[in-house]
Symmetry: C4
Subunit: 123 residues, 4 copies
């Protein structure tokens, strides 16, 4: 049996899905989860906005001893995705400890650009 | 009632507003705040420079259960903005715990570039 | 004798070797290790995937009072490298404390882009 | 009197001065220091390499209540700068707590790219 590593709650204040893409790659964000445990991690996303109520209880499962690079455009609440071109923030809550990193690829212009940071863990 | 998350003091040593922009996007920095609490967060910015006294007591409010992506060019002290093209640093002090991430979009050249990091929290 | 600094376990959820390169620079990732101690650090990598069992026990030694910027494309398990174009995650375990930063250069388009973050330490 | 904030020791494993620059901006790295205290901070850099002994005791002073964005190309040991095009790592030791962020601008190609991360603090 492998032990879980990391924390159960993680935060990413700077969410933004670029509305435009050019060139070979599509603009996107990834919430990259690592689950070192033998057990699956049941993860609940909350999406916060600047001017409306949060989207709550978006569920994702990450299998044991696996990573999952979750595109934020795939997160849906009752069939509704996160709107693009809108500033938002992400809360990640897991039933077991995990490790979370956030990355964005922006290809608004033909030459893409990347940014990445570890999410902020709550201990 | 939702609980506050994060820390009350955050630091960003590498502030810089690029003076030039080309292409579709304007060069800018964002201080991205997430307030998970039901209550509003009253935030006070201090701006430090290399060669002059700090600008103190720039106030911003972030509503409860909301994020705010604050452009540094919008931060004013008695009508005076942070000058562009000058190295500076940012202190963020909140009356309740928040989470803070810093990002910069530089479009000095036609193809823009991004960088991002969590701010440094004081516990 | 110089003391070891940092932590023994570090995590990087967002691993990805860009399959394409153009222009002067080759797309690559680096796991940058700093060993402040007088003694050598014996480091064991585990590579996690989305859909298959982890690659375990890839060994790297970093001499005392040295840094090593390890290209992920050089990490081999029984002669097999990490596949490019596939999302993965990295666990770094050392017998003495070290400090670990992760950076990626993507030159899929002619104009390259960089991202970097400290790895996540387990205390 | 303003209190010092942060930590006294910080680490940056991924140092690299890009040897080439094109376009309007020169490739460079900055070690960005924020000194919140009323007193000056006396900072000592150690530069670690992959294949030779460290450069020790490079001294920089940051005045009280000031930031300093220190270009790594300005760090000299007996008139010798850090070589460009060589992987290295940075240790920052201060006599009072400070906050340290590391950023790199790479303009090897005409369209520049940025990366940034907080340095790793030792508590």
């Amino acid at each position: 049996m492998f032990q879980a590593r990391g924390e159960k709650q993680w935060y990413i204040p700077d969410g933004f899905i670029p509305p435009d893409s050019t060139g070979a790659l599509v603009s996107h964000e990834s919430v990259c989860v690592l689950n070192c445990s033998s057990e699956e991690a049941r993860i609940r996303f909350t999406i916060y906005f600047e001017d409306r109520e949060p989207l709550e209880d978006i569920l994702v499962v990450v299998q044991g001893r696996r990573t999952k690079h979750i595109r934020t455009s795939s997160l849906m609440k009752e069939g509704m995705p996160i709107p693009s071109g809108v500033p938002y923030a992400i809360e990640v809550q897991s039933d077991i400890p995990i490790i979370v990193q956030y990355s964005r690829l922006d290809s608004t212009q033909a030459e893409n650009t990347l940014m990445s940071t570890m999410a902020f863990p709550m201990k």
